[in-house]
Symmetry: C2
Subunit: 339 residues, 2 copies
């Protein structure tokens, strides 16, 4: 269904070692099936094979949205519901809210003391994002974003971090700060390794990459009727006007989604689309039926959970994380010889 | 003995209101009698009339001394011993170590999100200190120093902060951040008022301002013999060479110290110095006797305390502070609508 990184690294003796993985998402709203077949499928695998820490990055959300914070709380619940719906198993990982871990803030202040301002100003995304969001986001917190991101990772001593290409420079900065810390105060922090996670683009209803900002997405939380209606509205090959016209599945977003949820039928759909035997209406109908079939257990799981249960999962997650975080922070303070 | 600010502000009805005062010092070593007759005397008064929070600013020390932190722990103990020796009453204030209050770091991260980088770059001391200490101190933490200072104040909701002239720009920036917070999220933080505290310069052994960096100081912790020896080495009026030469008390550092510890004898000393009847040896001898008399109870108090007792005082102080700090932080998070 999706390419993931190698879930386990083989040790020297050929044995499999459990990695400690840290990843997170900002609470900006519900997730869509693009997230599902990409990052969330990878997270589900991590839960099976590795030790995983998944963070709701509410403090990161403040870097670009400090002026209106009214949706963060609701979005946190929605985000975690989507994780759970997708099958991320809270018993096999730690799911938690960043601001519930005070040790992250403490480590952030300490590491900020050894991070040259010039390193932060050089991060390529810093100027890019100011250009995108406007100069009012040029806050002290926004400038320090890569330090905060490092602290998320370092506080749980994660050794592995799934990253997209655009985040490689942040991780590299983080690794430099860790090296500087270990050089100044003795080996204390783990230098995290990035594992490049690039997922195939999932096309949206209009054929562009599925994205909330294009409003061309199908949410994990969408019900069957909404999904069917959205699939029915999808664009297809513009040259296939009548039912019997031959189609080009390789450029059709409906076909791309078949690949994701209806793999066994793909060869036959490709053939009948090309021959003209399969019309778009029927093809879409099969897609929405199949998609609803795949999504049904996720929707059920999502519907069976309420805010209180999410709260309990996040509390338990914070407790797990703080057990590790307190030790890391104590080691850091000892290394720095603080009173 | 020393000019202090008005210890209490009269309310509208003429009543006296207890202020909440916050101040701190970096743990950089033992204090000298210049600190004693200046800031520490003021602190002793604050304990009597106001609600006072006195912080060992160990995290601030990291902004300029992150490369060698080996002395911070010992210096913290020495600093607090000097406070206690001077008569700052731990029962009537909170004495605590900055890094023992995680809520300061948490608030720092939150307020960093609403503090424009440009405000921090404009603080006059930022460039001055880089010029003084070198560009290696241009760290992210050093740039954010005024935010950290604001958090020390804001976390205990202090309304009054004694400041020297050089710190007025920091406080003004802090007040702006508070106003911005209250504007964005609703009235939550107290806007602290500065109370300008300028103390008369205490001359050192060489006539320049007493300062550890000039090595011309008498420590609070110095014993009687050391004090006597140091006073004997003081410079006096260079034109008074022989005992009977007339002296100029107004330019003599020995005379300046008489003013501080031997006020009743000042008119007579001035007269006999000017006439030539009083020689420098006798004058110094009287000063060291008097000074040792004044310092004796402080030295005894200092000697009676050990590291464990200082630790207990700082633990109790941290507990007092955290009771307030937790409430402030909870209010801040609620105002920001964090999960």
């Amino acid at each position: 269904m999706v390419q993931t990184t190698q879930p386990n690294a083989a040790g020297k003796d050929g044995s499999m070692t459990r990695r400690r993985i840290m990843s997170g998402m900002r609470p900006t709203g519900r997730l869509h099936i693009g997230h599902l077949v990409g990052v969330l499928t990878q997270w589900v695998e991590f839960c099976k094979t590795d030790e995983a820490f998944f963070e709701v990055a509410d403090l990161h959300a403040l870097t670009t949205a400090f002026e209106d914070t009214s949706a963060i709380k609701r979005n946190t619940t929605e985000l975690v519901l989507d994780w759970l719906a997708a099958g991320v198993n809270p018993e096999r990982c730690a799911m938690y809210v960043q601001s519930h871990i005070p040790e992250i803030s403490e480590l952030h202040l300490l590491l900020s003391m050894i991070t040259p301002v010039s390193w932060l100003q050089r991060v390529p995304t810093y100027k890019d994002q100011i250009a995108e969001f406007g100069s009012e986001i040029a806050t002290y917190g926004f400038l320090g974003y890569p330090v905060m991101q490092l602290c998320d990772i370092a506080i749980v001593r994660a050794d592995t971090v799934p990253v997209g290409k655009d985040q490689l420079s942040h991780l590299e900065l983080g690794r430099e700060v860790v090296r500087r810390f270990n050089h100044l105060y003795g080996a204390t922090l783990v230098e995290p390794q990035g594992t490049l996670s690039e997922f195939p683009d999932v096309p949206g209803l209009d054929g562009r990459k599925m994205s909330k900002s294009y409003d061309n997405h199908i949410e994990i939380a969408d019900d069957a009727a909404t999904t069917t209606k959205k699939v029915r509205s999808m664009i297809t090959d513009p040259l296939k006007i009548r039912r019997n016209d031959p189609g080009r599945p390789e450029i059709c977003p409906v076909f791309a989604l078949h690949r994701m949820v209806n793999a066994v039928r793909v060869p036959s759909i490709a053939e009948t689309c090309r021959s003209g035997a399969l019309g778009c209406v029927d093809c879409k109908s099969e897609l929405s039926t199949k998609m609803n079939e795949v999504m049904a257990p996720m929707r059920e799981r999502r519907a069976s959970l309420d805010e209180a249960q999410v709260g309990a999962i996040l509390s338990a997650g914070a407790e797990k994380v703080r057990a590790v975080a307190k030790t890391t922070l104590a080691d850091v303070k000892t290394a720095m010889r603080l009173p």
